[in-house]
Amino acid sequence: MATAVAKPPRPPRRRPSGAARRTPYVLIAPAVLLMLGFIAYPMLSVLYYSLQDYNVTKPWRNGFAGLGNFRRILFDDPLFWQSLLFSLKWVVAEVGLQLALGLALALIVNQTFVGRGLSRALVFSPWAVSGVLTTTIWMLLYNPATGISRYLADAGIGEYGTSVLSDPDTVFPAAVLAELWRGVPFFAILILADLQSIPNELYEAASVDGAGRFRRFFHITLPHLRDAIVLSTLLRAVWEFNNVDLLYTLTGGGPAGSTTTLPLYVANTGIDGHDFGYASALTTVAFVILLFCSIVYLRLSKFGSDRT
């Protein structure tokens, strides 16, 4: 991320006085204090508690645990592995599909056509919808008695009483589809903004040289979008990993724990199960995994390197 903070040198101005030198620190103080208190401190406390046995319902066992929590996570906790695996599956499916559809959508609404403004507003609208509201809407659609499937069955497609959310085979695609509905606009909006920053002259020059639509896409559009795509997929991946509300309300982690994500498992352990020590160790492990994946991804995608 170092490239992000590079800034062009500013022409030197007169030397600031002591008070003027303090001004920026006074200005950032509220933000810094809030972030220290509610981001940095909690992270440190997570590290601390990850090495402790700390459970308010079993105070007699509280105390230093060494690496005991971590040993339990790695070797003795099938739920951890199950939820981690599900989280990865969820993130990969969502980010991949959202990117593909978002890119296609952005390319379409970047064209000139009648009704473009309205179409944009409409296709982007689920962007602002919350996870719980998405659940509400899709539960109405998926309802076996009165949902879409009933009307499809009326029309001779499929069977009556199809309940996609309680069948372990269909619950994953059903949840993925609901999340896609509100996730695609995010990529579409970002990519559209970046598409508009491609100088038209590039396309004109390519057309003069006889490049067709596909070659223009692969040689101009895609390379130009690369950094934006890398960064937005990474942020989206963290966000989808973090995304508990939709799955929590749509499937409740079920059926039979098959859709429990890692953050949901952590929250259950720490807050409902009161096992702060173990939940902290789980959090630490999740952080390490996220950090590792982010670094590998940035390296592999050669983010920020000069393109030709």
């Binding site: 620190y25 992270m43 296609a104 919350s130 903004a193 639509r213 929590y248």
Partner: protein, 306 residues
């Protein structure tokens, strides 16, 4: 070009695009682009777009349909419409209270985020100071911290501060997670205001604060509206913090109330649930309609250039 940031929690962000880029959105067809896309037959635009619109709009329609048609009806047109479901969620299920709580949290988060981010953003845009790089780096890194993983330690902190079951716990947590992005955004907007404007005001005898309020602030209005709307939409939508930190029913927010309505299963009619969904959607739809034209074009002008 250096790239920064988009997004936390689903807010698409500014984009790194040259600040001078004209808005292609509403200005009508442009010759050059049209010549280029002439290769794409109309049906290649309208067919996929139509299908996608169907995918986007049918779910919204479905919710409205259930909310407006009487229970037991299987008609696909919500006519004759009834308001029975709305009065039930609003009065009997307590959505009036949840709505008020959500509104309070949303507005307080909006105000706190905007004020604190304005201060920090101004420092970043107008001063060179030692800790600047470190501060920026901290802001960027915090984008990669999943709030869901912070639930447990935050819960502990708020318990120690005796803020559990107070709306303030949610307001503070929302503000903290909104801040980094808002600061980066606002500093980008401030950088787009020429320093010379401010300096002219100083020459005229204004202090820094007065010059800022009189010259810079009015020019920041679109940016502040966007940042404020994001903060509002986010905290309006956010579920986890309110679910975990608020425990009595008088403190619930709309998403929490909605989730309990979902969870109550057969005992609540689908029409009532749908009406609750509409209540949850209305403010967000209004804000979205208000800011959507900035999402792509205006926001790329607020480009975060390092």
């Amino acid at each position: 070009m250096t790239t920064t940031v988009p997004e936390t929690n689903g807010v698409p962000l500014p984009h790194v695009a040259p600040a001078t880029r004209p808005d292609r959105g509403g200005t009508g067809p442009r010759r050059g682009r049209r010549a280029l896309t002439a290769g794409a037959p109309r049906w290649q635009i309208y067919l996929p777009l139509g299908l996608y619109l169907l995918f986007t709009l049918v779910p919204f329609y479905w919710m409205l349909l259930f909310a407006l048609r009487p229970s037991g009806s299987t008609s696909l047109v919500p006519w004759p419409a009834t308001t029975a479901h709305f009065s039930k969620v609003w009065n009997d299920l307590g959505f009036a209270v949840f709505f008020k709580n959500s509104l309070l949290i949303g507005v307080a988060t909006l105000v706190m985020t905007t004020v604190v981010a304005l201060l920090g953003g101004y420092a970043l845009a107008r001063f060179d100071f030692r800790a600047k790089r470190a501060f920026l780096l901290a802001l960027l890194c915090s984008q990669f911290i999943p709030g869901a993983l912070m639930l447990v330690p935050l819960f502990q902190i708020f318990s120690e501060l005796r803020m559990i079951d107070s709306l303030w716990s949610v307001i503070v947590a929302e503000t903290v997670f909104q801040l980094p992005l808002s600061i980066i955004l606002i500093s980008g907007f401030i950088k787009n205001v020429p320093v010379s404007l401010e300096e002219a005001a100083w020459v005229d005898g204004c202090g820094r604060i007065r010059a800022f309020c009189a010259v810079v602030l009015p020019l920041l209005r679109p940016g502040l509206i966007a940042v404020g709307s994001f903060a509002f939409v986010h905290s309006w939508n956010h579920f986890l913090f309110s679910l975990m930190f608020l425990s009595t029913q008088e403190k619930y927010t709309i998403p929490v109330g909605l989730s309990y309505t979902i969870g109550s299963g057969e005992s609540v009619e689908l029409g009532t649930l749908a009406a609750g969904g509409v209540v949850a959607a209305v403010p967000v739809v209004i804000v979205f309609a208000f800011i959507q034209k900035w999402l792509v074009t205006g926001f790329s002008a607020g480009a975060v250039k390092g």
